[in-house]
């Protein structure tokens, strides 16, 4: 049974899209306590002995199963660091949904620093979805500093969807990945900051194996007085393909610093990056206004499309 109150249920709905208990394996964490867990025949979740987090073991050949590990904080003044390690066997095809929602109505800061490590077995396919969300109008900050470390074995495939659209005051995201032969990584990051929020996002992808490849696309919108720093780096150590893209919309008094970088250590490494920052194109606003939208409605449509 899940032990969650109303606010916690709402946060879970935001970050994991869950309105009821999911099918498959799950581990719910609420205010630093275990609120519910389910294992399946193929997926086993165990608490680490020292209580610092959980281990998730997925057996070889697990197909079409999912793991949900949402975390919610609804009390003010919590500061925690949690380690979650995913051991994904060979030839799997699984969906992993993580995410953290913080509701802080109090005056003390609430902070969740999740360290997620993925060991993706040979020829396995993983879709990882991570959503971060903050709410509550207390003076205390909502802080999330996720660290994601991925090591991908031969022929594996991973798609990561990282979304932070609302309410997180400060975030420092750090994602590293190392890919062996034939492994492919796709990252789609969406960031929106407003108010005085700050978001730092760093990626360091190392393409070690022959024919490995990565495609990292980060789209951001910085509104009001918010600040974003995007640091996307791909390193090619073998014949490989790497692409990074930072695409940002800046509004009001927002500030964005995009720092794409590439490092090729092999003559057959093919790497490229794109980075663009700009305000919403005037002709986009005009076009939607000619359809009868107000300027503000047009702006909302353009941003929500951009961050989709």
């Amino acid at each position: 049974m899940l032990k969650l109150d109303e606010i916690q249920r709402r946060l879970i709905a935001e970050v994991a899209g869950l309105h009821k208990v999911p099918i498959g394996a799950y581990n719910f964490r609420a205010n630093s306590q275990l609120a519910g867990r389910n294992n399946t025949a193929n997926i086993e979740i165990t608490s680490k002995d020292d209580g610092s987090g959980i281990d998730i073991h997925i057996k070889d050949g697990t197909q079409n199963e999912s793991v949900h590990i949402p975390v919610v904080l609804s009390a003010s003044g919590i500061k925690e660091t949690v380690y979650n390690d995913f051991y994904i066997g060979e030839n799997c095809d699984v969906v992993i949904v993580a995410g953290c929602g913080i509701d802080n109505c109090g005056n003390q800061d609430s902070e969740h620093d999740g360290v997620h490590r993925f060991f993706v077995g040979k020829n396995s396919k993983v879709k990882y979805v991570e959503k971060h969300y903050g709410s509550g109008n207390g003076a205390g900050q909502r802080i999330l500093n996720p660290v994601t470390e991925v090591s991908m074995n031969d022929g594996s495939f991973m798609e990561m969807e990282m979304v932070q659209i609302k309410g997180v005051d400060s975030t420092n995201r750090m994602t590293t990945a190392a890919l062996k032969a034939g492994a492919k990584l796709i990252v789609r990051e969406r960031l929106m900051t407003h108010g005085a929020q700050k978001a730092f996002s760093t990626y360091k992808i190392t393409l070690d194996g022959e024919n490995s490849g990565a495609d990292v696309v980060s789209r951001g919108v910085a509104k009001e007085k918010s600040y974003q720093k995007l640091d996307l780096c791909v390193i090619g150590n073998a014949p490989c393909n790497g692409h990074t893209e930072c695409d940002s919309i800046i509004m009001d008094e927002g500030k964005i610093l995009a720092v794409p970088s590439l490092e090729a250590n092999h003559v057959d490494a093919v790497l490229f990056h794109e980075a663009a920052i700009g305000k919403i194109a005037g002709d986009q606003l005009i076009k939607l206004m000619t359809l009868g939208l107000t300027e503000q409605e047009a702006e909302e449509q353009i941003i929500s499309g951009f961050l989709k």
Binding site: D283, I286, K287, L288, T290, L291, G292, L293, I302, G305
Partner: protein
Amino acid sequence: MLELQDIFFSVEGVEIIRGVNLTVENNKFVVITGPNGGGKSTLARLIMGIEKPTSGKIILDGQDITNADITERAKLGVGFAFQQPVRFKGIEVFDLLKLAAGGKLTFNKACDYLSAVGLCAQDYIKREVNSSLSGGEVKRIEIATILARKTKLSIFDEPEAGIDLWSFKHLIQIFEDMRKNIDGGSIVIISHQERILSIADEIIVLADGQIKNRGAAEKILPEIINTESVIQECEKLKR
């Protein structure tokens, strides 16, 4: 009914539109033609409210809309298909048609609009209106947004540009249908194509920011054919 009264428009001291007087009656299909740079698109942008005239008045159905903004004019029933359609990251064809239709649109209806412009709805409805669409595709979607809007005054800026020959025939069909079902509205098309000019109730020739000639298609077409403003129907198309 649209009336332009003595419209002037200049940018940085350069006069682009120089005293245009024009009335587009209800139930009329008007084609504006003329040489490149003559001011056709600018005139359309003035009607839509994207630019404001330096002097002169714009009257729509008896209401002075000279100072109305784009949104207000759109709500009054003015629609405009751009010469160069705008692209959007993340906005899908269906989203755009839905916005054009005023927020509500069934999937079936959206498919009808796409079929009308010669696009296989299944292939396009979920596509993003981004740079992955070809010039001709995005142009057709632009026309479909106007069909979805069901406007009283519809302005199309060179709808044929970038559309291939086979589809061009299809496009003419769309305009002929629109004309048949005009239902009290007015259609203004900016075009250089003889086939489009020939179905006009009235042709306006705009050059150097002024109306140089106007009248019924039968009268004007012979006068301007073989001038630079009209491209004759291609031999291939006739076959």
